[in-house]
């Protein structure tokens, strides 16, 4: 917490010179107003991308976690390993690998074209002028890919905690597979869902690599802006103010997520 606390006075300061390190604390709240006014749309975009990526991730992660838990059998450790494996490679390398796959002459667009889906996807806004790389869809795809392990693992842990006798009881009471799922598995896996959202939304909102490599200038996220303010424009107080705004919004999201339940209920892996 100390580095974060140190940002508070910096965010209310003004630099003494353009290139020096010294700043003067003068309670300049205008830093916050300026960054909110200037970069508000990018903040909204960042949380929008993060939310869509998390939602897409959940659509993929839930059946995957279900299959690992209830159909994995002795392959369960291997399947979990396969989910985690990509996250052991460099984040940067993965983004660069995606650029090859999503490029204008890459296999993904070739497949889309072969299936005759270019027009449809263009109309839906997934493709832009027939291309995928350097679009919002590519950034969201990259984010989703990175988030998957953070979503799958808490869900598997939550499902592991489901007492098999409950499923047997449901079966004994003539509940079909769908009803067992809806009335037993789904409610008991919700803490895993909550934990997964928590673990994915935070890093996704602050992602810097995917928008840089997979997006274009219209898909920059807030961490890219902070990076630019700090390293290019040399405006440390405004970078600090924007960082604290981002932290405050993430904290708010966490508190909302934890509302009504303690963190001990979350099946964090």
């Amino acid at each position: 917490m100390l580095p974060l606390l140190a940002l508070v006075p910096l965010s209310l300061s003004e630099p003494l010179s353009r290139f020096g390190l010294d700043t003067v604390f003068n309670g300049r709240i205008a830093n916050y107003l300026e960054v909110l006014q200037t970069y508000g749309p990018i903040l909204v975009r960042s949380f929008g991308f993060a939310a869509i990526a998390t939602a897409l991730g959940l659509v993929l992660a839930y059946p995957l976690a279900f299959a690992i838990r209830f159909r994995g059998g002795r392959w369960q450790p291997l399947l979990i390993g396969l989910v985690v494996l990509p996250s052991l490679t460099s984040y940067l390398v993965r983004a660069i690998a995606w650029t090859s796959l999503l490029g204008d002459n890459g296999p993904v667009l070739a497949l889309v074209e072969a299936l005759g889906l270019t027009g449809v996807l263009d109309g839906l806004g997934v493709l832009r002028d027939g291309r995928l790389l350097n679009t919002a869809a590519a950034v969201i795809l990259g984010l989703t890919n990175n988030l998957l392990p953070f979503l799958v693992l808490p869900l598997v842990v939550a499902m592991e905690r489901i007492d098999p006798r409950l499923l047997e009881a449901a079966n004994d009471l003539h509940a079909g597979p769908l009803r067992s799922f809806v009335q037993v598995v789904w409610p008991l896996s919700l803490p895993g869902l909550g934990a997964g959202i928590l673990l994915s939304l935070i890093p996704a909102a602050g992602d810097v690599v995917n928008p840089l490599f997979l997006g274009g200038p219209n898909e920059r996220m807030i961490a890219n802006t902070i990076d630019n303010l700090l390293l290019v424009q040399l405006q440390a107080p405004r970078a600090a103010a924007l960082t604290l705004v981002l932290m405050a919004l993430i904290t708010l999201a966490v508190l909302l997520q934890l509302r009504g339940r303690g963190i001990e209920e979350l099946p964090l892996p």
Binding site: L21, I42, P217, L231
Partner: protein
């Protein structure tokens, strides 16, 4: 307008560059031209490895900006160490000069020395460092080869006595394009805004290059850039970004997109494109009709650098025309060293390079090249902010 087509393929080029003990193509001509034996030094003192051999020289520079060598033929770094006995840590960690500045700023502002003895940065950043007093005078008394500096790069306005800097390479910002992708030759900056190329165009994150080219196209004098005169160019760039005409703003990474076919045209740097064209024959580099932006990267010694003597030896070594010719053949930018063209011309393998107007622009071509003038601190902050709001969405 200058179009550059590759004289030969990359494989051939590298093969021909494979100088070595087995008898390389270029080496004999180079050695003959300068009367120097393999592994020797210039004999003028500073290149003599007999001095302090224990020091380690640390240099930070841009990637892919030196003769890397080839199998069986050592590159510049290895040859320098062999010639002088100096251990050289050649670190290619300058990707963006502004970000590099942000990295070194805390130490230099606090009066602490960096680990680097020498850094290679673009001239406008050199001007800033000199103005801030964060660099040492170069040990030029021990660099007799500094006399080989070409006249056009001598005594820049920001270092009039040439005390703090020596150019590493110079180059041109212009338009790179793939003729197959564009379907036609391009002529100027307006072509980048052609709707037919929508989403397949990129510009540089280096503000002075991108804005310089746009302002030249608007008929502005970039030697004395003003905020007011830049506004139409900023507006044009902003609109192109918003409309999706410009796909990305890049550093060196536009090269990957050009090769992968994601870009049809972009703002790029002459040497990069000349090298890429060896791999992809459809690539062209164009100095727009309205003019190109001339820039120089220079070597500077940060305040408190520890190895002055080794720095002197390095400077002297790279200003030896033979070594400079080898570097120039590899990077294909404008060499700052006199005599390089003659050396390249004497060897059939590199004769085409000696005729390149991008490496050796003639007087007419030089008239079309312009250096982006200085911006005051407050002006620069304003320009950077507007530019960042365009490039960062």
């Amino acid at each position: 307008m200058s179009h550059v087509s590759p004289p030969y393929g990359r494989r051939t080029f590298l093969k021909r560059l494979a100088w070595g003990a087995s008898g390389a193509v270029l080496a004999p001509a180079l050695l003959q031209a300068c009367g120097r034996g393999p592994g020797g030094n210039t004999g003028d003192g500073a290149g003599d490895g007999g001095g302090d051999r224990g020091g380690e020289l640390v240099i930070s520079t841009f990637p892919l900006y030196i003769d890397p060598g080839a199998p069986g033929a050592p590159g510049s770094v290895e040859r320098f160490s062999k010639d002088t006995g100096i251990r050289l840590r050649y670190v290619e960690d300058v990707n963006d000069v502004r970000q590099f500045f942000a990295r070194i700023r805390p130490q230099l502002a606090a009066g602490q020395p960096l680990s680097q003895d020498l850094v290679v940065l673009t001239s406008w950043m050199a001007e800033r460092l000199i103005r801030l007093g964060w660099v040492e005078p170069l040990p030029l008394a021990d660099v007799p080869n500094a006399r080989n500096l070409i006249p056009s790069l001598r005594n820049p306005s920001w270092d009039p006595q040439q005390r703090y800097s020596l150019p590493w390479q110079s180059g041109i910002a212009g338009i790179a394009y793939n003729i197959k992708a564009t379907g036609r030759e391009l002529r100027g900056i307006d072509d980048l805004f052609d709707p037919a190329l929508k989403g397949r165009v990129s510009a540089l994150l280096e503000m002075r290059d991108t804005m310089g080219l746009l302002m030249l196209a608007d008929g502005k004098d970039i030697r004395r850039p003003t905020w007011e005169e830049a506004q139409p160019s900023f507006d044009r760039l902003e609109k192109a970004r918003r409309d999706g005409q410009i796909r990305r703003f890049t550093g060196n990474d536009y090269q990957n997109d050009l090769l992968a076919g994601n870009l049809a045209a972009c703002i790029g740097w002459s040497g990069d494109v000349a090298q890429l064209a060896l791999e992809q024959p459809d690539l062209r580099f164009l100095v727009p009709e309205s003019g190109g932006v001339l820039w120089a990267d220079v070597m500077l010694m940060p305040k408190g650098a520890r190895h002055r003597k080794e720095v002197a030896q390095w400077l002297n070594w790279v200003y030896d025309p033979i070594e400079a010719a080898r570097i120039a053949a590899a990077v294909q930018y404008i060499s700052p060293v006199e005599g390089v063209r003659d050396i390249l011309a004497k060897d059939p393998a590199t004769a085409a390079l000696a005729a390149s107007p991008l490496m050796f622009p003639d007087a007419a071509e030089q008239k079309r090249l312009h250096i982006f003038g200085p911006l005051s601190d407050s002006e620069e902050a304003r320009w950077e902010e507007r530019f960042a709001r365009i490039t960062e969405g």
